[in-house]
């Protein structure tokens, strides 16, 4: 596609349920990043993929969070046993190679609300 796409755009879930968030990066981009933006917080890094590998998972807040990327393309972020503090906008970005001189292009995000 022309840009980064994410689905769903909005997700409301009950505390304790599992959720899956999807990201479709720009075709040909090998680097994929997940970020989270909570109310009153800046954008925080979660995880980075280069191809199908995740060499940097340092931003995942707990072991309830996991992510995978298949075929060097689509990525799924899974949150198990959701908690209210997981409520945030989850943003995905891709860049051509992940180098410091490549722009990161963001998707429209998924707004997650945990009741």
């Amino acid at each position: 596609g022309a840009g980064v796409s994410q689905s769903p755009s909005n997700k409301v879930t009950e505390k304790g349920k599992d959720v899956e968030l999807r990201c479709d990066p720009i075709s040909g981009h090998t680097a994929l990043y997940w970020y989270r933006q909570s109310l009153g917080q800046g954008l925080e890094f979660l995880i980075y993929f280069q191809g199908n590998s995740a060499p940097d998972k340092s931003g995942l807040p707990s072991d309830r969070f996991s992510a995978e990327r298949t075929g060097g393309s689509v990525s799924t972020l899974t949150i198990q046993r959701t908690q209210q503090e997981d409520s945030a906008v989850y943003l995905c970005a891709s860049s051509f190679t992940g180098g410091p001189y490549n722009e990161q292009f963001f998707g429209p995000g998924t707004r997650l609300t945990v009741l």
């Binding site: 917080q41 890094f45 001189y101």
Partner: protein, 111 residues
């Protein structure tokens, strides 16, 4: 620890005004600084700056970097209501170039 600080946190101006948004940074092994505009959810890329003193310009927006004093500014001239947004500054950090963001400047342009 790598850090990006933006000021002001928020700003209210009238159409036609000129605004200057500030971004200071502390980062190991600086390579580039990026500015984004966030209107709803998706930040949209504005500029990437890598060299001091070279202004990047796009229409009414311009930006410049000072690598000696470790800051960048984003200028918007003749503001319009459509410029109302959060403006984010970020630097790539670490070996994986994950973006380290400031908290952003919320700009509101009143008619």
């Amino acid at each position: 620890e790598d850090k990006v600080v933006q000021s002001p946190l928020s700003l209210v101006v009238h159409e036609g005004d000129t605004v200057t948004l500030n971004c200071s940074y502390e980062v190991t092994n600086f390579r580039s600084l990026l500015w984004y505009k966030q209107e709803k959810k998706a930040p949209t890329f504005l500029f990437m700056l890598t060299s001091s003193g070279i202004e990047k310009k796009s229409g009414r927006l311009s930006s410049i970097l000072d690598k000696k004093e470790l800051f960048s500014i984003l200028n918007i001239t003749a503001t319009q209501t459509g410029d109302s947004a959060i403006y984010l500054c970020a630097v790539p950090g670490g070996a994986t170039n994950k973006l380290i963001f400031g908290t952003g400047t919320l700009l509101a342009v009143q008619p």
